[in-house]
C-alpha cells in the first residue's frame, strides 16, 4: 500500500503571470500550468483516494481563506485537500486565469498551505508537500520566516519552489536584465527552500523534464516459496534441499486498458451533452456482454439451435472429437504435481543459445532470514559462476500447476547474489521450419556452390564488416564513462507512456487533438545523428557494393519465371500436357489446374475468354448446388485463382465482368437461394474488382473497386 499523500499546489495567478516573456508564445501562467496540470493529472491517474491534492491561488482578485488578516489577502483556497476528480479539473480549468492584481504575498500563501496540510493530516502518517509555482514578481515579506522554517521541519513538509525565469546555475538558466525586485525575491525563496531542505528550481527545467516518463515502482511478491532440491529427499539421504523464494526480475508493464462504452441513449453524437456537467464521460454508457450457446442441428431453421448453459458439460477437443470431462476425471486430466524446484542437471554456458529464453526472468534468492539457506545457495551460485555453467531445473510453483523447465544462471554482484531464472522450451515448443544455409547454396544435384547472386562476395563481406564496426552504439554510465551495457534503463515503453500522457492531456484539454509521442519515447527509433555521420562513408561503400534494388510494386507478385514451373529434372511437362487429348474442356473435378494450364497455353484473348466462361459456369454450378456453405471454400478458391491469374495475365476486364455478374446473381438469389454468407467470404478474401492500382490497364477506379466490396 502506497503512502498517503497531501500535496498543496500554490499557483501564482497575478496579473503579471498573464504576460508573455522572453519571446515565449504562451503566458507565464500557461507555462506554469503545463507543469502543474501534469503533476496533478499524474496523481489523478493513480485513482487513489489517499493521494490528496489542494490548490491555492496566489495574487487572486478576491480572498478566500480562514486567516482573516491583511497579510493574507489576495490568496484563495481554490480546492481543499482531497481526491481530485474530473469535475474538479473542469472547474479549476475555468478558475485558474490571470487576475487583475499583482497584490498577494507568496510567503503568506505558503503559510496558508501549511495550515491546510496541518489541519488535514493531523498527526497521521502522510507524505506532505507544498509546491509553489510563481514568476516571483510580487511583493514578498520575510516576516517571521524562521518560524515558518521551524514549523515546516516540525511537521515534515517538503517545500518545492519552481519559478519562471529563475536563475539556476546548475541547470544553466540565467535571466538577463532581471528586475531587481524579482532578483530579491529569488534570493528570499532560494534561502527559504534551502533552509527547509526543499527543492528550488527553474520552470524551464521542470517543464523540459515533464516528458521524462515516470516509472511506476511495483513491489514484487514472491511467486514461489519452496525448496530447491538436488536428488529426492523423500527417497535418498543424499539429497540437497535449500529453501528459496522467487521474484520477478522482469515483467512487462502493460498500458492502462480502455473499456468499451456506447453513447447513452438520447445523446446523439454531435448533439449537445446533457445540461448538468458538460462531461463527455456522462454521455457514455458501459457495455455489458451476454453469452449464449449454440449447437449445430441440421434439421433446425438456420441449422442452429440454442442450448442452455446448464445442459452443457465441460470438455475439450481431441481432434474433431468433443470429449466431455466429468468432474471426477477433471483431476485425472491434470498432471499431478507438487511444488518444488528440482535440479535436473547442468549445462555449459557457452553451449547455450541465448535465443532459447522463452519468458520473462525471475530471481531466486534464499528464504528470508535463513542464514543456512543463504550460505548454501551462495555456494551453488559461486560453483556455477566458476564453472561457467547454468543449471536446468524442473519448477512447479504450486501443487497441481504444470511443471516447467527453467534455466538458472548465477548472478554475483558486489552486494547481491542470486540465481536468474528463465523458462526453457519443451519439445512441443520448438517448431522446425527449415531454411537453406546462408553461406552456401546446395543445388538440386547436391553440388555446393559458394558464389551466387544470393551469397555475399568477399567485397560485400568486408564492406559489411567495416560498416558494422563503425556503428558501435556508445552507452555511458552516470559518470559519463563508456560502458558495455544496453540502454535498458533509458528506454521507456512507448505505448504505455504515450497512452497514459494522452489520457491525462485529454482530461485537461478535451478539445485538443492527440499529441505525437514525446521525443523521449522515440529516442531509440533511429540511430543517433553522430553515429550516422560517423558511419556515412562506410555505409555508402556498403550500399554501392550491396547493390540492393527495390522491386517496383507493379511486378511484385507477378508470375515467377516459367522455368520454376518445371519439375526438378527440367522436363517440359507443358509439351506433354498439350498432347493430352482430353484437355480441351475444363473439367469440374480438376478445374483449377486445367484453368491455369489453359491460360498458360493460350495464344489469343479468345482462349482466355473461353476459359473464364467455362470457369464461371463451374463456379456458378458449385454455388447453386451448395448445401448451406458446403461448397463455399471451393468457390472462394476458384474465384481467388481466377483473379490471381487474370491479374498476372493483365486481363482485368474479363474478371471484372464476371465478378460483377456473379455479385448480381448472388444477391438476387439466383444461385440457389440466400448467398449473403458467401458474399461475406468474397469481401473478406478481397476478391472484388481488379482496380487500376493492381493492373494499369484496368478501367476500374480505386473508389469503384472499394464501393463494390462495401457492405451493401
Amino acid at each position: 500500500m502506497a503512502e498517503k499523500e497531501a500535496t498543496v499546489y500554490i499557483v501564482d495567478m497575478g496579473r503579471s503571470m498573464g504576460e508573455r516573456h522572453h519571446g515565449r508564445p504562451i503566458t507565464d501562467l500557461e507555462w506554469a500550468m503545463q507543469y502543474v496540470w501534469d503533476r496533478i493529472t499524474a496523481t489523478v491517474a493513480t485513482g487513489r483516494k489517499t493521494a490528496t491534492v489542494g490548490i491555492v491561488g496566489l495574487r487572486t482578485d478576491g480572498t478566500i481563506n480562514d486567516l482573516e488578516e491583511e497579510n493574507f489577502s489576495n490568496i484563495s483556497i481554490l480546492f481543499g485537500l482531497g481526491q481530485v476528480l474530473m469535475p474538479d479539473i473542469r472547474k479549476l480549468r475555468e478558475t485558474i486565469k490571470p487576475s487583475n492584481t499583482n497584490k498577494g504575498d507568496a510567503i503568506s500563501s505558503i503559510v496558508i498551505a501549511m495550515q491546510m496540510i496541518i489541519e488535514y493530516t493531523k498527526k497521521n502518517k502522510y507524505k506532505r508537500k507544498i509546491i509553489l509555482v510563481t514568476n516571483g514578481t510580487g511583493m514578498m515579506s520575510d516576516d517571521n520566516i524562521e518560524g515558518i522554517i521551524e514549523k515546516m521541519k516540525e511537521v515534515n513538509i517538503e517545500l518545492v519552489v519552481i519559478g519562471a525565469d529563475f536563475d539556476d546555475a546548475e541547470y544553466g538558466a540565467k535571466e538577463e536584465d532581471k528586475d531587481s525586485r524579482k532578483a530579491e525575491n529569488e534570493i528570499l525563496l532560494r534561502s527559504l527552500t534551502e533552509d527547509c531542505e526543499g527543492v528550488y528550481g527553474t520552470l524551464e527545467q521542470a517543464v523540459s523534464e515533464l516528458d521524462i516518463p515516470r516509472i511506476k515502482v511495483t513491489k514484487s511478491m514472491p511467486s514461489f516459496k519452496g525448496n530447491l532440491t538436488l536428488g529426492n529427499p523423500e527417497e535418498y539421504d543424499t539429497a540437497m534441499t535449500i529453501p528459496v523464494e522467487r521474484y520477478f526480475r522482469t515483467y512487462v508493464a502493460k498500458p492502462i486498458s480502455a473499456s468499451s462504452f456506447v453513447p447513452r441513449s438520447g445523446t446523439e453524437p454531435g448533439s449537445q451533452a446533457p445540461v448538468k456537467g458538460n462531461a463527455e464521460g456522462d454521455a457514455l454508457a458501459s457495455v455489458r456482454t451476454s453469452r449464449t450457446y449454440q449447437i449445430t442441428d441440421e434439421s433446425a431453421p438456420g441449422s442452429k439451435i440454442d442450448v442452455e448453459r446448464d445442459d452443457l458439460a465441460k470438455g475439450y477437443e481431441y481432434g474433431r472429437t468433443a470429449v466431455p470431462i466429468e468432474q471426477t476425471d477433471e483431476n485425472v486430466a491434470n498432471l499431478q504435481t507438487f511444488a518444488g524446484m528440482g535440479l535436473v542437471g547442468f549445462v555449459q554456458k557457452d553451449q547455450y543459445d541465448r535465443y532459447m529464453h522463452m519468458s520473462n526472468t525471475n530471481i531466486i534468492i534464499p528464504q528470508r532470514a535463513n542464514d543456512n539457506a543463504s550460505l548454501a545457495l551462495s555456494s551453488l551460485i559461486h560453483a556455477l559462476y566458476e564453472l561457467e555453467s547454468y543449471a536446468v531445473a524442473r519448477l512447479v510453483t504450486k501443487e497441481s500447476k504444470p511443471p516447467m523447465l527453467v534455466l538458472l544462471a548465477p548472478s554475483v554482484e558486489a552486494d547481491y547474489e542470486c540465481l536468474i531464472e528463465v523458462q526453457l522450451p519443451f519439445a512441443e515448443d520448438v517448431r522446425s521450419y527449415r531454411f537453406p544455409p546462408l553461406d552456401k547454396i546446395i543445388t538440386v544435384s547436391g553440388k555446393v556452390v559458394t558464389e551466387h547472386r544470393n551469397l555475399p562476395s568477399a567485397a560485400l563481406k568486408d564492406a559489411m564488416s567495416n560498416y558494422v564496426d563503425s556503428m558501435d552504439l556508445v552507452t555511458t554510465n552516470d559518470e559519463g564513462q563508456p560502458t558495455d551495457d544496453l540502454p535498458i534503463d533509458e528506454s521507456f515503453s512507448p505505448l504505455l507512456h504515450r497512452i497514459e500522457s494522452a489520457v491525462r492531456y485529454r482530461a485537461v484539454h478535451p478539445n485538443d487533438p492527440v499529441l505525437d509521442p514525446s521525443e523521449r519515447l522515440t529516442e531509440f527509433a533511429h540511430p543517433s545523428e553522430d553515429m550516422v555521420k560517423n558511419a556515412k562513408s562506410n555505409l555508402e561503400e556498403l550500399m554501392s557494393i550491396a547493390d540492393v534494388k527495390k522491386v517496383p510494386p507493379k511486378t511484385k507478385g507477378r508470375k515467377r519465371q516459367r522455368e520454376t514451373e518445371k519439375p526438378l529434372s527440367g522436363l517440359d511437362v507443358d509439351a506433354l500436357l498439350s498432347l493430352e487429348p482430353k484437355r480441351t474442356k475444363i473439367s469440374t473435378e480438376n478445374a483449377i489446374p486445367e484453368f491455369k494450364q489453359t491460360l498458360s497455353r493460350a495464344e489469343n484473348i479468345d482462349t482466355i475468354h473461353d476459359a473464364v466462361q467455362q470457369m464461371a459456369k463451374i463456379i456458378e454450378t458449385q454455388i447453386t448446388h451448395s448445401l448451406g456453405h458446403s461448397n463455399y471454400d471451393r468457390v472462394i478458391e476458384g474465384l481467388g485463382t481466377m483473379r490471381e491469374e487474370l491479374v498476372d495475365y493483365e486481363e482485368p476486364a474479363v474478371y471484372n465482368d464476371f465478378v460483377r455478374q456473379l455479385k448480381g446473381k448472388m444477391l438476387r438469389e439466383e444461385l440457389g437461394g440466400d448467398r449473403r454468407e458467401l458474399w461475406w467470404f468474397v469481401r473478406k478474401g478481397k476478391l472484388g474488382l481488379i482496380g487500376k492500382s493492381e493492373v494499369d490497364s484496368s478501367a476500374v477506379e480505386e473508389e469503384e473497386a472499394q464501393a463494390f466490396l462495401a457492405p451493401n
Partner: protein, 654 residues
Amino acid sequence: MVEDSYTREEENYEDEELDETSFKSVKDAVLFAIDISSSMLTPRPSPDPKKHGDESPASAALKCAYHLMQQRIISNPHDMIGVLLYGTQSSKFYDENEDDRGDLSYPHCYLYTDLDVPSAQEVKQLRSLASPADADDEVRQVLEPSKEPVSMANMLFCANQIFTSKAPNFSSRRLFVVTDNDNPHADNKGMRSAATVRARDLYDLGVNIELFPISQADHEFDTSKFYDDIIYKTSPSDGDAPAYLQPDTNTSTAKGDGLSLLNSLLSSINSRSVPRRSLFSNVPLEIGPNLKISVNGYLLLKKQEPARSCFVWQGGETAQIAKGVTTLMSDDTGQEIEKSDIRKAYKFGGEQVSFTIEEQQALRSFGDPVIRIIGFKPLSALPFWANVKHPSFIYPSEEDYIGSTRVFSALHQKLLESKKLALVWFIPRRNASPVLAAMIAGAEKIDENGVQKIPPGMWIIPLPFADDVRQNPESTVHRAGDALNDAMRDVVRQLQLPKAVYDPSKYPNPSLQWHYRILQAIALDEDFPESPDDKTVPKYRQVHKRAGDYILKWAEELKLQASEMFGGSVAATSTLVKRGAKTEAAGEHPSKRVKVEDSEAGVEDEVKKCYAKGTVSKLTVAVLKEFLHAHGRATAGKKADLVDRVEQYFEQKI
C-alpha cells in the same frame, strides 16, 4: 468452418500467424501416400536382438503417420491429416464399393484415413494399422499388396481429388509420399508421362509433394529415375520461400536396420510436421538510413499451451462442442449494440476519458513496420536477465528488395564472427507496439540424422524497457567460503547433462502430453494410463549414485561453515532466525539427510510419529502447514483439509 472464420476474426492476438495477403485460409492439410508393396512390407531386422526392432518400411511409415497425427492434434488442432495407401490389393475411395469392381476410379488406392481433422476413432484405427501384430484380420487384410502394379498417375489424381474436395482453399496442402520404389513405371513410357501430367496438376492446384525415399537393401534410392519429374523446385503455396529439397541425407541411406530407418524417417517427417507460416512478411530490415532489405518473420519457439476447455453438448447422438455467441448490450437500455458503435474510454478521475476510434489508432501508431538497426554492441552486452518473451526468427526474402539475401548473409556472417549483436527498433506489424530488441545471429544446426534442427538466420529478442525491470527484493548475502564452493563444484561436475547441452527435443511437456493422453483415453473409452511418462523429473537414482558422496561432503562443509559463521546456535545470531541449526548441530538425527532448513526435521519427525499413531489431527495448523509446504503440497483450506492432505501424503509414500 464458417464459424471458425467468423470467430477467428474476432481474436486478434499479437502472435497470431497471419497471411494478410491471401484469400486462402491459413490451414494445413497433410495426406500421407504410403506405398504398400511386398518390399515395403518386408521387415528389416534390428541390430539389437533384445529389442523388438524388426520393422518394415511400411510399418515405420504408418508409425510416423500415427505419431504425426497425435502430435498435430496437440499442436495444430485445426489442421487436417489423412492416410492413403497405394499398391494395395483392395481399394477404397469414399462411397465406392469393392463389389462393383469395374467402376472403381482408383484401383489399388485405399483411403484408410480420410483427409480431415482427425477424430479419436481415426487415431485408434491408424494405431491398429501401425502395429498390425495386435490388430485383427480385417485390418491386416488392408495391408495385402496388389499383384499388379498401381498406376502412379491414378494415385496422384486420387490425391488431387481428396485435396480438392476435402481441403479446398487451404493455404498449405502437402502430399507426403513414402516409398522404396524409385522407378515405378520403368518400362511403360505412357504411364510415366501420365504420372508427370498428374503431378503437374497437383502443382497447379497448389499441392506440394514431399518425398520420403527409402533405399532398398541392394541399391540407393535414385530420384533421377522418376521422382525428379514429379517434384517441383518451388513450393507452389509458398512461392518466395526458398525450397529446401535436399533429401535428408540419412533417410535414403538408412537401408540397414528397421529401428534406424524408423528414427530417421521420424526425424525427417517431424522436421516437416508443420507448414512454414510467417509471423510477418516483407518487413524492411533497415541496416542504415537508405539501406533496406526485406525479411520474413517466423515463430520458431512458442509456448504450446493445451487448448482451452469448452462446453460440450451431449444431448445428441454424438457429443458436440457448443459455440459461444457473445452479444454486446448497452448497460442503460439493455439493447443489443453493433461493434461499430463502441467507443473506447479510459477511467480517469471518476469518469471516462474517451477517444474516437481514429484517435485510438493514432495513439497506437508509431510508424510502419520496420526492423531498424540503431547500433551494434558486443554479444556480451546482452545480460542473461534481459528477457521478456520468446524471440522471433527472421530470414531474408527477395520479394521487396533484390539482393536482400546476400546482404542479410553478409550481416549474419559478420555478427557470428565478431560476436556482436544489433540493437533494433522493432515494429513487427502495423499498429504493433514498438520494442527495443537485440538481434543476434544464429548458426545452422544439424542433428545426427542429417536433418536441420535449427535453421540459420537472425533472432530478435525483445528487451525489457525500464518500466519492465523490477527491483531486487532485499536479501541477506552470506558468501560461502572456498571450501564450500569447491565441494559444490564437485557436485556440479558430476551432473552435467549429455554433451553439457540442453536439448529441448528430449523433454516433451509432461502436463500437455498427459492431458491429451487422458483425453484420448476418455474419447476411446479406454483405461487411463497408470502413470505419466515425465521426462522432466530429475533422475534421482543417478544423482544419488553419481553425486551422493559429494553432496554429503558438501553438507559437512556447510555445517562447518555455518557454525563458524552463525555460532552454531540459534540464539547467537539474531531474532530473525527462527530456523536455527538445532537438529543438524545436535547430530542425533539418524539419517544423514542434507537439510538446510533444519527445524523442519523436527516437524518432519513429529508429523511422522503422529501419523503412525493416527493422531495427525492433534497437530496445530502451523505445523501441518509447514509440513505440507516443505513437501510441495498446497497449504490452503481448513484444518480438516490439511489433515487429509498430510494423511494422503503418507498413504502415497507407502
